[in-house]
Amino acid sequence: MVGEHKNKRLSAVCFHVFSLLLGFLMIYPLLWLLASSFKSNDTMFHNTYSLIPESWDIIQNYSSGLEGVAGYSFLHFFKNSAIVTVVAVVTTIFSSLLAAYAVSRIRFRGAGFWFGCIIMTMMIPSQVMVVPQYIILRALHLNDTLVAMILPWCFGSAFFVFLIVQYMRGIPRDLDEAAMIDGCGRIGILFRILVPVVQPAIASAAIFAFYWIWQDFFQPLIFVGSPRNYTIPLALNMYTDPNSFNNYGGLFAMSVVSLLPVILVFIKFQKYLVEGIATDGIKG
């Protein structure tokens, strides 16, 4: 009995040692980024692996990073990212919610066909469509605008439709029918009855949307050309070009700033995120 107890203790210790080591390795790149954003440029590449700056230069790094590049301050890029992300997230979730409600709850002609189309667009990577999309945006004189980055999202996205449909299917139809008898219309049922119930699915879809749009590099790279309309990923990409911005401290400092909203949202909403992955994983 005593031996078994000791064995258990030992295995618990082994477990924690391993888990902590792995955890350290996992977040080392982030710690390194944070530490490097504090290091002065001249000691940056001396004992690069170290997480403790030899000489500190926080103010210089962050202020030179915020000054920005190509005549625009970093706050300008931050503002662009914020506008694109907020508008795109709100519109894509709203459109996806409407489509999800229609295909899962309304008996209309072609519902099955359109659900099939939604699934199909999920299988085809967006990169494939990017060339003709660019040509269309150019024909509409919308390329190189903030709108160009919102447009691919604002009509809804198959993944979010699918996520909300999966959740809605788990909710009994009796709820709709009872509301209908009480005189609630079909649109009323969605907003008054279903939205409060599917709120977890909406929340996790919104968080995923936030991550993807905030960090998206590919579409902005193609749809936007002038620094005035750059979002943060494009701005950071310009910072990495040694010809236009030879300042590693500033680059690392602004990389930290670009990750802050992502980390904050994660800390605040991680419950929804973990649940969203779990339900999607089981049912998908």
């Binding site: 996806s96 469509m129 003709p132 649109i187 992502v262 973990v274 992955i277």
Partner: protein
């Protein structure tokens, strides 16, 4: 299954005019997006893939010439395909094995589980970010963390891992494996679904933990593994940001991924028609991979009789 059921409903049921109106009203935003961002672009893309369109002059019909060139003489295409498939074939299994291993570790009752889960999941949410690719480049590049560690131990290297054509792709693969967190969470929820009774009766019959893992855990998890595999392969084939930022396809095209090649063809060389043909070949490859995986499903994925 669900779709077939919906179809038989359609055949037997009469649609009320009101339901039709409301249904299409609700679908309007998605339908506009589908037409503007998918249907029309798809049609245009198919047409352009048979032309020499270059944005400046009107497209000329060239028949199958783009496809023939790609499949017979384009060495960059072959390299890009080789790099991308190599990336997927190495990264996806490693990521899934790692995710499964860690999920198993975390599926016990210890103090601090929630903290570990968060710690391992963080890389997955920020992984697509430019900032992380910048960090990766600095860690594995010249004057980077690895080089400075090697120097510390007195090992001089001519090339960094990023600068060496033989190892550059592995740096990018490592970044993919590092983001095993979301697969791990999916496995964790799969593991929680396996009834304890199965393990208990196996233990009573004298099965060792390793036997229990191979005979119970793995078979019960195969649907989850299958789902993960499909998702990761499709996602892996579209890798772009990492190879653009960390190595820009180099050195010597050793990290030229398919989407990076497509991007360069279209937006550096303005060969729009040619890049559309490349895009459709990619769709075919993804479709083929998905069909093949679904075909193998019967022989290894175990679904509980319902």
């Amino acid at each position: 299954m669900a779709m077939r059921k919906a179809k038989s409903l359609q055949e037997t049921q009469h649609y009320s005019a009101k339901d039709n109106a409301v249904g299409y009203l609700l679908m309007t935003p998605w339908l506009i997006g589908f037409i503007l961002m998918w249907a029309i672009p798809a049609g245009m893309s198919i047409y352009y893939s048979f032309t020499d369109y270059n944005l400046l002059s009107a497209p000329n019909w060239v028949g199958f010439q783009n496809y023939v060139t790609i499949l017979t003489t384009d060495t960059n295409f072959r390299q890009a395909l080789f790099v991308t498939l190599g990336y997927v074939f190495v990264m996806v299994p490693l990521r899934l094995i790692f995710a499964l291993f860690v999920a198993n570790l975390l599926n016990k009752k210890h103090v601090g589980m929630a903290m570990y889960r968060v710690l391992y999941y963080v890389p997955s949410i920020i992984g697509g970010s430019i900032a992380v690719s910048v960090v990766w480049k600095q860690i594995f590049g010249n004057q980077g963390v690895i080089m400075s560690l090697l120097e510390r131990f007195g090992i001089e290297q001519e090339y960094s891992l990023v600068g060496n054509p033989r190892t550059a792709l592995f740096v990018i693969i490592l970044m993919g494996v590092w983001q095993f967190g979301s697969s791990m969470l999916i496995f964790l929820s799969g593991l929680k679904q396996i009834p304890d009774a199965l393990y208990e009766s196996a233990a009573m019959d004298g099965a060792t933990p390793i036997q229990r893992f191979w005979k119970i855990t793995i078979p019960m998890l195969t649907p989850t593994i299958f789902f993960n595999l499909i998702q990761q392969i499709i996602n892996g084939l579209r890798i772009f940001t990492e190879s653009k930022i960390i190595t820009d396809g180099g050195p010597m095209n050793s990290t030229l991924t398919y989407v990076l090649y497509l991007y360069r063809t279209a937006f550096t060389n303005f060969h729009m028609g040619y890049s559309c043909a490349l895009a459709w070949i990619m769709v075919l490859i993804i479709g083929l991979a998905t069909v093949l995986l679904f075909k193998t499903q019967k022989s290894w994925v175990y679904y509980e009789a319902q």
